[in-house]
């Protein structure tokens, strides 16, 4: 158990290092921030002062190691644009994104699991086929397009929901949340649905596949032979078994949702990390982009670790020590 934890930690650190190199080099190759930041009328001297202040005159590898040693200490550089620590800037936008992603996952599970059970437990019928066809669309329609359609329909045409922003927020432990106010919920509705749709589709299909497989298993038949009620068979015998893949996928999706929320946040002007990323890319705000990618990688790694542990908890056949080999 201890060895497993240690091993997974080392793996995670290796992943973070590899990503840091890749990201740093990639960002280095794109554009010249000096052009953007320095007043075009500035003198050569002013330019040089700026370049050395930002550390841009150092060789690449020096810049990287400076970046790395700072990063380890939690310093990801200072935003060129906002003159604020990059990490702090991103962290200040994190609650908005997390709120969006959490609610999207919740909505996706609440809708996707029952739909999937319906399809997987019933014999083929027209409703089940409609759900499965719908899920293909739900999964494959691009996020930005769906977002625009939602805005056109609910904000422009029906004028039911606001098209942008977080609305009214309430602070809990100093962190602003939208879902606690009616206005906030109205603002959340469209971005959450937009983000949830592909995941509803994914969870529906996953649940359906799992349920239709599980219901054919001998243990379900044996439970029937014991006189166990259908309700309990579904809840304890079937759901308990398919929860394992569902939780795994939910965990992995959590990471990608944070990454993919950039599009949704941009379409709905949701002031989260994703929107900050897009703005920073346009402004060539290198430290913010690098800090964002590192942070998202970090979240991915942590979530995957958690998924592994949860998996081991849920599936008695998997013991952590066995999985090391």
């Amino acid at each position: 158990m201890l060895l497993f934890t240690l091993q997974r930690m080392l793996q995670s650190i290796a992943v973070l290092l590899a990503v840091s190199v890749a990201v740093f080099l990639a960002v280095y190759a794109v554009g010249d921030p000096v052009e953007l930041l320095v007043n075009p009328e500035a003198t050569q001297l002013e330019r040089e002062a700026m370049v050395s202040r930002l550390g841009l005159d150092q060789p690449v590898w020096m810049q990287y190691f400076t970046f790395l040693s700072n990063a380890v200490q939690g310093d990801m550089g200072t935003s060129f644009v906002h003159a604020e620590p990059a990490l702090q800037l991103i962290l200040s936008r994190m609650p908005a994104t997390f709120e969006l992603v959490f609610l999207a996952m919740l909505v996706a599970s609440i809708i996707g699991i029952p739909l999937g059970l319906y399809v997987g437990l019933k014999e083929e019928n027209r409703i089940a086929r409609a759900i499965m066809t719908g899920s293909i669309f739900g999964y494959s329609i691009p996020s930005f397009w769906k977002g625009m359609v939602l805005i056109l329909f609910f904000a422009v045409w029906l004028q039911w929901l606001p098209a942008s922003g977080r609305g009214e927020t309430v602070s809990v432990f100093g962190i602003p949340f939208s879902f606690l106010t009616v206005d906030g919920l109205r603002h959340l509705a469209m971005p959450v649905i937009n983000l949830a749709i592909p995941n509803i589709a994914l969870i529906t299909r996953l649940t359906a596949a799992g349920a239709s497989e599980a219901r054919m298993q001998d243990y379900v038949k044996f439970a029937r032979a014991k006189g166990v009620r259908e309700k309990r068979i579904v809840r304890r015998h079937i759901l308990r078994n398919i929860l394992i893949p569902i939780i795994t996928v939910l965990g992995v999706e959590f990471g990608s949702l944070i990454a993919f929320s950039t599009i949704t946040e941009t379409v709905f002007a949701w002031p989260g990390m994703g929107k900050l990323l897009i703005t920073s890319i346009y402004q060539l705000d290198r430290p913010v982009v690098v800090a964002y990618v590192m942070l998202v990688t970090f979240i991915f790694v942590v979530v995957n670790l958690l998924v592994d542990f949860t998996y081991a908890l849920l599936d008695p056949r998997v013991s952590l020590s066995e999985r090391m080999s």
Binding site: E123, K221, A225, R236, N241
Partner: protein
């Protein structure tokens, strides 16, 4: 063991027919299945692989999943036709008055639930019990079927137990509510020989103790001769011969029964090769006309190829064959 013959039987199966729906039509896996079982009696249901033994067992308690369908017949248990019950009424019979043990102990138990939970639900779905009392009943029953340290076992998951242990758990689960009938579908076939023997011996003791009627499904005549009071021989979805163990084994009337007897290793005289019945059992979709056994039968005549043989009987012994064997000459 023999209960009063004049009293009405515990189970009376009449003309039971279960089909499987395939793309090109419905094919019967069991057809015109009829037999009776008295309280406390042990019936051995014997036949080659694919003869429909499992489908018959599942059909008795209405547990046939699509593409299978029970299409006609009666299953009268204590006078009530189980086929006419509502889903809820049937559920209350299953696991309470009639339990079943499956062929493969490795797939019977849910891998993610503890032994205890899977046993206790068999109790709590039929009566309101205090969890501690239910747990104790599980532990006691596990002890009865020869499981050591049952207090630990109830909290374990199936994968922590060997195949033999898991089958004992399934047997214990079937016994929990003291049913009047247990259908055991080849519960020892998947286990190694020593464990088979142990479990068989335990089942015999338990059956005598509890007086539960038992339908023991097997392809092994040797097992049946030790355990059963009566034997029903199945071929291609129907019973071709049924009677008291001694009658059927000592003077079989159906050529197929004789073939089965000759392929039991222990019964072959020394020096004589084990005789298998030539040919293979017909598949579901290719059942021969007339007597389904005719392509493999050494006594087959033109009549056998066209006409289904009718039921003939002598006392408690009955068979379906146009040219039955002479009871004086065999085996």
């Amino acid at each position: 063991m023999m209960s009063d013959q004049s009293s009405s039987p515990l189970l009376a199966v009449e003309n039971l027919r279960t089909v499987f729906h395939f793309a090109d039509g419905a094919y019967p896996a069991i057809d015109s299945l009829s037999f009776e079982l008295r309280a406390g009696e042990v019936l051995g249901l014997v036949g080659e692989s694919g003869s429909g033994k499992s489908v018959a067992g599942f059909s008795l308690i209405g547990l046939v999943d699509a593409p299978g369908e029970i299409v006609s017949g009666e299953v009268r248990f204590k006078g009530r036709d189980l086929r006419k019950l509502s889903d809820e009424e049937l559920r209350r019979v299953r696991g309470k008055s009639v339990s079943m043990i499956f062929q493969d102990p490795l797939t019977t138990l849910n891998p993610v639930l503890t032994i205890g939970e899977q046993m206790m639900e068999a109790i709590s779905e039929h009566e309101t019990v205090d969890p501690a009392a239910a747990r104790q009943r599980c532990i006691d029953t596990l002890t009865k079927v020869g499981i050591t340290s049952p207090q630990t076992r109830v909290d374990q998951f199936p994968h922590e137990l060997s195949g033999g242990m898991r089958q004992r758990v399934a047997i214990a689960t079937a016994l929990l509510n003291q049913p009047e009938l247990i259908i055991a579908d080849e519960p020892t076939t998947a286990l190694d020989v020593t464990i088979q023997g142990q479990i068989l011996a335990e089942m015999q003791t338990l059956q005598k103790e509890t007086g539960t009627a038992l339908i023991w499904i097997t392809h092994d005549l040797g097992v049946v001769s030790e355990l059963a009071d009566r034997i029903a021989v199945m071929y291609a979805g129907g019973i071709v011969e049924i009677g008291q163990v001694d009658d059927v084994l000592d003077s079989p009337r159906h050529p197929y029964t004789l073939g089965l007897l000759n392929s039991v290793p222990g019964d072959t005289p020394r020096g004589e090769a084990l005789r298998q019945i030539e040919g293979a059992a017909p598949s579901l979709t290719a059942r021969p006309l007339g007597c389904p056994f005719h392509p493999r039968c050494f006594r087959a005549s033109d009549l056998c190829r066209t006409e289904e043989p009718p039921l003939a009987e002598a006392g408690d012994h009955s068979w379906r064959c146009h040219h039955p064997l002479d009871p004086e000459k065999t085996p």
